[in-house]
Amino acid sequence: MTEEKQTEQTSTAISEKDAIARSKTDPNAFRPLYEAYFKRILLFVLHRVGDKQLAADITQQVFLNALSNIGKYQLRGLPFSSWLFRIASNQCTDFFRKNTKMRTVVLEESSIKELYEDLTEEQSWSEWERKLPLVLEHLPPEDLQLIELRYFEQRPFKEVSEIMGLTETNTKVRAYRILEKMKKIFLQRK
């Protein structure tokens, strides 16, 4: 990392911290945070709902919730981005609980390769590709969320734990158990 990049990151962190602090008393100060994170949150939601307009509406709701609860956000706690992703995740869960719309999962070849290696290399790749959606359908929403964050979106365990509100160790243990469960389902499926 060059010195110039490091300076840029530090100044971004300071301005984010400052914007969060000011937003607690002045909602207008939230604008730079909205502009900085809108795209990431929109894509996060879009990959789960699969519809652009719906994703835009949910994203607006995510930022409205964030602004309403900014007073509860602790600067020393989890990163602001993880806090926003957690709100977005809860908003999506809430949406699917209240609506009959089908949950979307993006399974790109590059992103499912790691899971293939971790789960079963005994099966052929084509078999794996065919069975994976069926196996995922057997998972409860929370387990699917964990696998999606860790493998399909390739986030580090630390961030996954922050978004899901778990400890990092617990996230790893749960991920292991879910993979074991998936392996069993995988072998049972024809």
Binding site: F63, L64, V106, P133, E137
Partner: protein
């Protein structure tokens, strides 16, 4: 799994930066936030109002209850649900009037002390006046002291109290004498004699009309040394 739960996409949905830009509308978020905050404030005001109203209502009710209790202690309401059922002359509801008078030695009558503290009726609508001796309690106690004699024909000399209740009828005459504590037939006879010959009483009245009143009294028999 028969029913399909997931919509699987092989590639990420394509969305351009221009599209994302067009979806951004912070002013709308701000406006919704202000509306939500205003609604919350209104709800809080309404909630606070309801709580205050409940507290005030409770306080008023509490005060009314206290006033009612105070009034209850001031007005002596005759207990008409307790008629005397002894198979004697008048089967009428009577007033309970607790009296404890010691005849020997003569002391300041407890009844007098009780009367001084007796509450005054608060409303003229239901005024009860207790029965009292025409010549006053001092005269009555002097009579008891003078008239009550230790029976001469008692086999075993005993000392103690004879407690009785009797009813003063509407004419102020004693009747329905009942012994609560007896020392023997000789003592009972003496007490009956003293009660039947006692000075005249003014009957109890309720709203100016004479009503029967129940009196409790005790007589102390002691051997003079």
């Amino acid at each position: 799994m028969k029913s399909k739960k997931l919509n699987v996409m092989k590639t990420r949905p394509d969305i351009s930066d221009a599209e994302i830009q067009s979806m951004m509308d912070f002013d709308k978020v701000l406006q919704l936030h202000k509306t939500a905050r205003r609604s919350r404030s209104i709800m809080m005001i309404i909630g606070s109002g309801v709580i205050i109203a409940l507290i005030v209502g409770w306080a008023i009710l509490n005060r009314d209850e206290k006033e009612t209790t105070t009034n209850d202690t001031n007005v002596i309401v005759p207990d008409k649900k307790e008629p005397i059922t002894e198979p004697q002359s008048e089967q009428e509801p009577v007033q309970k009037e607790e009296k404890k008078v010691v005849t020997k030695p003569v002391e300041v009558p407890k009844k007098l002390e009780q009367r001084e503290t007796a509450p005054v009726p608060a409303t003229p609508a239901d005024v009860y006046v207790e029965a009292e001796p025409v010549n006053g309690y001092e005269d009555l106690y002097a009579y008891f002291e003078k008239e009550l004699k230790y029976p001469s024909d008692v086999a075993n000399a005993v000392e103690g109290d004879v407690a009785v209740t009797f009813v003063l009828n509407r004419n102020g005459k004693p009747e329905q004498i009942k012994f609560i504590n007896s020392l023997g037939p000789e003592f009972d006879t003496e007490v009956i004699r003293v009660i039947n010959n006692m000075p005249e009483w003014k009957p109890a009245t309720q709203n100016g009309k004479p009503v029967p009143a129940k009196i409790s009294q005790s007589f102390t028999f002691s051997i003079k040394k």
